[in-house]
């Protein structure tokens, strides 16, 4: 049975929609809120802020994280900053401009109403985080400082050195910790979601695995929020943390939540290139570096001189050449493809010729080393620790890597998935970034969803359920989900094959990177779709998980996550194959302009593809939500 994709856009003009929604929304009386229980899975920016705020309002909240502490969530690794339409610099910013930049940055594939709301609440986020004590960078006068990020011509990015994600997450974590201390939130740490349970078509709770003991138990609630991040680790090598996975979203998908636009993945242009075959992950160098660093490659692919002896006329500052008005701050998808093309032409630098230069010598000459050090000191130190070279003396070498996933669980205006009572927030949903996310917008979206959207929209769902009891965890649906989960994990242990979960993960990652990475073709995707099921069969027959299921077993945890990556990978390739156009991070080589830019097909693809589970990712059903642009005029994205 297919569900009608109703985005539930509120009435009124774009700038009135959120106000109109809030005016009409059903409320739960303060004394009644404690009668409702909400489960929040994930404690990153979206999850921690949602759990803390819902508990402050009076709801009973159970929060789950597979980490030892909520503070470890991968939001912590975001470096550069957070956007907000504060216009503190008086440089022409406004809510509308942030909205428009986000829609345009997303290559006109995001829902207008959600994005406008995001831009509206962006200003509240900064106020909220400052009140909590987040030490954002300041000017000497004591006011907040801003910098500029890709895809924008104003300075609207707030930052805390190169650790903005850390400071924001610690702010949200501290607010969550306060609620844990007060008893408003019960925290379950080192506990991983293994299934979502629905009863009579509504979300009824979750099944979890205690990572310390392997015990599988159920938790029921009136509503469930998944704030479990993105699936960028499907590529194996990515800037995601090692434990990031798609399991929660994927298990929800298998229970009826549509998965939207899985092919929209972001490859970040500035990461440290791979150095050897043991590489376990790639490290991002913040996009903020492109404010002062200049990207170039030698014009001659056979260039043999040391980097400081290559004269200006033999260097190709290709971003400045191709995109003069945005220059080194061209959006991520465009910058990444330009780097790939330079390397593919043989102009790559470094021992493996797999990078491009990001050069700070002009900035150091113009501003002095101390200013550069103040702005980027910790990033330079991190680069030196990893690459073994000092970027004050030698240009950094960078190359694109998987970083963020715009696709995710389909949600309506209220952030509810196609399963009533199941919500998705932050990177786990698909809603705000279209086909490409602008820098410093992920932190904004996570906090917007958790602090300023969900606390309103969840009440609208809960209000009519007052005094209706939640199903007990002894309900047959819970018991069935528990035994399926037990069987699944025992199954991994019983294969007793010859290859580790990591081996399979690396192989899936290679296929996805080669055929569903920065540039995709029909032929390549078809090849991936024949190779992936074959490899998945091998996974089921030849997996080896050592240890047991009754104590802490990281190999077993990994097996479950890799299983879900296989299935997601197939869906990604199917989505990329069916979207016969190029847009944002989805670049199909067949669809490009004469200048090599993405060529959209608005007549046939100005829609969201929301996939419905049918029992096999290879036969998932594609549903469509048309994107109707009321305010924005569809245009060819130009950053020239």
């Amino acid at each position: 049975m297919s569900v009608e994709l109703n985005a539930k856009n509120p009435a009124g003009s774009l700038s009135d929609k959120w106000e109109n929604y809030k005016a009409d929304v059903k409320l739960v009386n303060p004394n009644n809120k404690r009668k409702f229980k909400v489960i929040v899975v994930g404690t990153g920016l979206a999850g921690a802020s949602a759990a803390a705020t819902l508990a402050e309002l009076g709801y009973q909240v159970d929060a789950f994280t597979f980490h030892d502490s909520p503070r470890r969530a991968h939001s912590i690794a975001a470096q550069g900053g957070i956007n907000a339409a504060k216009n503190y610099q008086g440089d022409g910013d406004s809510v509308h401009r942030l909205f428009y930049d986000t829609i345009k940055g997303g290559d006109f594939r995001a829902r207008e109403s959600n994005v406008h709301r995001l831009a509206e609440v962006s200003v509240n986020i900064i106020d909220q985080m400052v009140a909590q004590g987040v030490p954002f960078a300041r000017e000497y006068g004591g006011l907040l400082d801003n910098r500029s990020f890709g895809g924008a011509q104003v300075s609207r990015t707030f930052y805390a050195r190169g650790q903005t994600g850390q400071q924001l997450l610690l702010g949200a974590y501290q607010q969550l910790a306060r609620q844990i201390g007060l008893g408003g939130v019960r925290l379950f740490n080192r506990t991983e979601l293994v299934d979502v349970v629905t009863i009579e078509g509504r979300a009824a709770g979750i099944v979890v695995r205690d990572l310390m003991t392997g015990e599988i138990t159920s938790h029921s609630a009136h509503a469930v929020v998944l704030a479990t991040g993105g699936y960028g680790n499907v590529f194996f090598l990515s800037t995601n943390a090692m434990a990031c996975n798609v399991t929660a979203a994927w298990r929800a998908h298998r229970k009826g939540a549509y998965f939207a636009n899985p092919c929209y993945t972001q490859i970040h242009p500035t990461c440290i290139p791979q150095s050897d075959e043991f590489q376990s992950k790639l490290t991002l160098m913040s996009e903020s570096l492109r404010n002062d660093g200049r990207v170039w490659v030698p014009k001659n692919p056979d260039e043999a001189r040391p980097v400081d002896q290559i004269p200006e006329e033999d260097r190709d500052y290709y971003l400045e050449r191709l995109y003069p008005s945005y220059g080194n701050l061209a959006p991520r998808d465009i910058s990444s493809r330009a780097a790939k093309r330079a390397v593919d032409r043989g102009q790559g630098v470094g021992p493996l010729k797999n990078g491009v230069y990001l050069d700070f010598s002009d900035a150091i000459n113009r501003l002095g080393k101390s200013v550069v050090e103040e702005r980027y000191g910790n990033l330079f130190d991190m680069y030196e620790r990893i690459a073994g070279e000092n970027p004050y003396d030698v240009p950094m070498r960078i190359y694109p890597a998987s970083h963020y996933t715009m696709g995710g669980l389909w949600v309506d205006y209220e952030l509810m998935t196609t399963i009533p009572g199941l919500y998705a927030a932050g990177e786990a949903n698909f809603s705000d970034h279209g086909a490409n996310r602008l820098g410093a917008s992920a932190l904004m979206q996570g906090l917007a969803d958790g602090y300023f959207v969900l606390p309103y929209t969840i009440g609208n769902y809960l209000a009519p359920m007052l005094n209706k009891p939640i199903p007990g965890t002894d309900h047959p649906e819970f018991k069935a989900a528990e035994s399926a989960a037990r069987e699944r994990f025992t199954g991994y242990l019983n294969v007793k094959g010859t290859r580790s979960p990591d081996w399979f993960h690396r192989e899936v990652g290679k296929i996805i990177w080669d055929y569903c990475g920065m540039e995709r073709t029909q032929q390549g995707l078809e090849k991936a779709l024949s190779e992936l099921p074959a490899l998945y069969d091998e996974f089921k027959k030849d997996l080896r998980v050592t240890g047991d299921g009754e104590s802490l077993n990281q190999t077993l945890e990994k097996a479950g996550r890799v299983d879900d990556f296989f299935q997601l990978g197939m869906l990604m390739c199917r989505d990329a194959l069916d979207r016969n156009e190029s847009c944002g991070g989805h670049f199909r080589a067949e669809y490009q302009t004469d200048e090599g830019e993405a060529l959209r097909d608005d007549d046939n693809f100005c829609h969201v593809a929301a996939w419905e589970w049918t029992g096999d990712p290879m036969s998932a059903k594609r549903n469509v939500e048309e994107l109707n642009y009321e305010t924005v005029h569809l245009a060819t994205r130009s950053y020239k």
Binding site: H67, P135, R138, A160, Q163, M212, S275, F278, T546, G547
Partner: protein, 258 residues
């Protein structure tokens, strides 16, 4: 270009669970690139152990960018190993040489019980934050962010302390197993800022006293500062101590009034 290290001997702590006695096991790594990170070397060893049908070595790690604070490890007796201001995940094999013998242990502190192999339970840190490591500011009513100017040096000093990643190296390095650097870094971050003043004394009292329930006492060895991957200065401990003393006096006056 990358070089390879040869004949590395690893002595690694194995312990099957919290109640097991635990012991050292010796593993040989014949060859590894000096571009590999320390944890990638352990990944490589684990892959081999799985291929041989043995259980992989459990260790905590996640972001591998030195910011999440999940990774730990005493490497040759030093918290996070030999490189200053570097978490284990950012340590690379180029810091070692062929033929080296490396001893790898979990954090050693009573407040951090061993979970399995190299993994410990650091939830006592969360209890400290829950007791007062926050500014009470419920979502919704915050005034405009530029309403209160904060002098840059104050914001910078708060940020210096706020950089703590909660890894626990300070506790592991301390001969007393004290958590004063961790606790004081959070106290300093929040107590320096104008927003943190309302709860300043209540905060320091609650946090210090919760800390004392779990951890040893500080006797100014300074090992914590040397081990801290974020180079947080022990000055924050002095600041927290000063505030704690003031809190005790202030609160006594208040008690007398009631």
């Amino acid at each position: 270009m990358s070089n390879h290290l040869k004949d590395i001997t690893l002595k690694i702590w194995r312990q099957s669970g919290p109640n097991d006695g635990g012991h050292f096991e010796t593993y040989k790594v014949d060859e590894i690139s000096d571009e590999a990170s320390f944890l990638e070397m352990l990944d490589y060893l684990n892959e081999r152990l799985i291929n041989e049908g043995n259980e992989a070595i459990v260790f905590d790690h996640d972001c591998r960018e030195g910011i999440c604070g999940t990774c730990s490890l005493m490497i040759n007796g030093q918290a996070h190993g030999p490189e200053r201001a570097t978490a284990t995940c950012q340590l690379h094999m180029r810091k070692f040489k062929s033929g080296d013998s490396i001893t790898i242990e979990p954090w050693r502190a009573k407040a951090f019980p061993i979970v399995k192999d190299l993994m410990v339970d650091r939830s006592a840190f969360d209890r400290i934050i829950e007791s007062g490591g926050f500014i009470t500011s419920p979502t919704g009513g915050a005034p405009d962010a530029n309403l209160i100017p904060i002098p840059k040096p104050v914001a910078d000093a708060a940020m210096d302390s706020a950089e703590c990643i909660g890894c626990g190296a300070c506790v592991a390095a301390c001969p007393n197993g004290a958590a004063n650097l961790f606790t004081s870094a959070k106290i300093a971050h929040l107590n320096l800022l104008p927003q943190g003043q309302a709860e300043r004394y209540k905060r320091v009292e609650a946090m210090v006293e919760t800390m004392d329930e779990y951890f040893g006492s500080c006797t100014n060895h300074g090992e914590c500062e040397a081990a801290c991957p974020k180079e947080i200065s022990i000055d924050v401990i002095a600041l927290a101590n000063a505030d704690y003393r003031k809190a005790k006096v202030k609160n006594r006056k208040q008690l007398a009034r009631n």
